[in-house]
Amino acid sequence: MPESMPAMATAKRIAVNVHINVNGKPYTREVEPRMLLVEFLREACDLTGTHVGCDTTYCGACTVLMNGLAVKSCTMFAVQADGSEIITVEGLEKSGKLHPIQQAFGDSYGLQCGYCTPGLMLSVHQLLSENPAPSEKEIRKAIAGNTCRCTGYMNIFKAIELAGRNMKGA
């Protein structure tokens, strides 16, 4: 083993307990501190709607809400979300009815391959919670941290405007 390699590579597994409320349901798990929030959601909670895209804090595919705010779950440790409320794409639908944001993405063809869509919808959730009638400039700024390589974004803008209108009416 090279001298610079920390001894812990061979040491006993380090584990901590975390309690995270995901989509209204409490999850208590023993995890390694280095476990990323996105891996916690996918592996420990079996909620695979949150995607790993670039894994480098760029693309936003892993975006979830933590206490109502959009965060990149590849750039947080699960242990840092201890005691918080997480909403993932699985938590948007209520009693079999799609959330207005989901409905609008479908109605406006705001996706093609769908890989970026869960993350996008949660960024949009923060935007529309704060500002139900955003301007195009405000929409651009709000989703600047979410990369879509299929659509060219035009139908995504339409979906967000539609979702805002429908949520206001709701």
Partner: protein
Amino acid sequence: MYPRSFHYHRAGSLKEAVSMVGQLGEGAKFLAGGQSLIPLLKLRFANPEHLVDLNFIPGTSFIKEDSGALHFGAMTRHAEIERSALARKIPVVHDCAAGIADVQVRNRGTIGGSLAEADPSGDWANALITLDTTVHCLGSDGARTIPLRDFIKDAYTTALAPNELVTEVEVKIPPAGSGGAYIAFKRSAPVYPSASVAVQLTMAGDVCRDAAIALGCVGLTAIRATEAETALRGKSLNDKTIATAAEAARAVADPQSDMRGSADYKRQLVVALVKRAIQIAARRARGEQVEGTHLYA
């Protein structure tokens, strides 16, 4: 990607965080917003044995005005500063906070963490160097304050001791007749800027009484363009004086060619950004509201 395994410690107070890192020794690091540190850990460029998490410490996120200055708690998120009506009293501060990376990163990243990292491409150090900024620190020998110009020593190097942290950032509110602008030019929102410029002016009519101009991402630390400042001081602002200042700024820019552009491209970018920032700062000094000065494609 997983970082190397580490031990996780949650500090209950800033004092406890300092003593934890002191006791754990060289392999221990503070974890603030994590928006730079966690990517570095995942790439295994940094491999600490212990992380001391500052995120659960109460009372470290605040924005208040006191004795002619704005005070920002070290763990205040960029997004909190972006939304703060108080922070708008210093336009450079609002510009900077509102344009860092994207919504998600601004929800997590902190002003104290950004300064303590001292990334040459970071936004806060470059924006705040044009203002009278003091960094409040806490270490094993107690608290001290360091002017920002002495705090940043080199790329990724500050005056902080290994077990010392930033507790608060204090920024003096500029005098009446002042205006500022911070413009970072980015290829897209989440990336670091190709170049950034901060300008702070104090005007009397059309005449510039005082000027501070700083260039970011074009050197190992933010560069104060002192010749460009001299070119404005005591002069009335017009296309000629602004162009002279922008050329003086180009002369001190020291960029490297990389994936964000060639060195020549970045020097040209500095010229354009300095001109634009001076014009916006001057309009704001006159009391005009000018929004959204961050640029990205």
